[in-house]
Subunit: 183 residues, 2 copies
């Protein structure tokens, strides 16, 4: 029997020691048996991502989670470097590139700004969903199934019980997760 985990959570934060939300979320799911929790900055402090190792991890997983705060309307840069160096032609797309086909993908993100600021009339001039089009389209282009994202807005100054409730929802989702073939 394979010891491979069926869920891989990729995580990154530029200042985890100052984080409330992402530390709470990390601590809420990090001990689950079925999860391979991979802190990208811890694994690759110099950004030299081991593409072959990460491709092997992704091949085995049924659900791939990206968990991070939103900086400048997108993931921390190391996630983009992960896309650029791991999701290669022949692995993720193109001839023979079917390794991710049919897998589930979940974005777990937090924003400092409250939800209402993400609108055409708000200070950020776009909906949150419009701003995450690049990652959603990346996921779809690789044949993965985009699950409804879990986003916590207004991170600057949320009461801890709101954060805890969100973390519990995240943990519950991962505990309850069944691959498409078993649903």
């Amino acid at each position: 029997m394979s010891s491979a985990k069926k869920i891989v959570v990729y995580f990154a934060h530029l200042a985890i020691e100052q984080s409330v939300i992402n530390r709470t979320l990390r601590d809420a799911v990090g001990d689950l048996d079925q999860i391979d929790f991979r802190d990208l900055h811890e694994l690759y402090p110099d950004f030299f991502i081991d593409a072959r190792a990460e491709q092997a991890v992704m091949r085995e997983a049924e659900l791939i989670v990206f968990q991070h705060p939103i900086y400048w309307y997108a993931a921390p840069a190391i996630f983009k470097h992960f896309l650029d160096t791991v999701l290669l032609r022949g692995f993720a797309y193109g001839p023979g590139g079917d390794a991710l086909q049919g897998k589930d993908f979940l974005l777990v993100a937090s924003t400092g700004a409250p939800a209402e600021e993400y609108s055409p009339e708000g200070i950020h001039h776009n909906t949150f969903e419009d701003l995450i089009r690049p990652i959603e389209q990346t996921v779809r282009f690789c044949g993965m199934h985009w699950l409804p994202h879990l986003v916590l807005h207004g991170g600057h100054g949320l009461p801890q019980d709101v954060v805890d409730a969100h973390a519990a929802r995240y943990r519950q989702f991962l505990e309850d997760y069944r691959p498409a073939s078993q649903r």
Copy 2:
């Protein structure tokens, strides 16, 4: 008199030796006197960007150019790391963060896919303009003026004369550039 350059071109490519378009574009503008051409991977091979140095460069510039290929619907990761580590509160936004207010910004990008694939019906399911909303909104949030972007689509297999014509247009734009105060 200050020796500061009024135009800074930030550049990155993960495999410049295999590039046709971005090498042609780089070579077309790299010798212009008024330009500080900064190859981010050459300057920061380990991604440890000197934020203070880059803030000083940006303060002096009137026009900031990001020149790069599009990977996974966005800039190479080091551009995102540049945003995350250089465009800080107190510099680019927030109290006292007015260093970039009123500057011009130009995106010079290339895509492998042809223009018609960037549409709701195309393989990429979004217009190119929708996919670059995060960087456009970043630029606007910092109070910069978003100039009409220069994008060359269909990079896989364009005739060299088409690439050369685009490069010439890029060079001409930079040669003719005048800050808003002089227009």
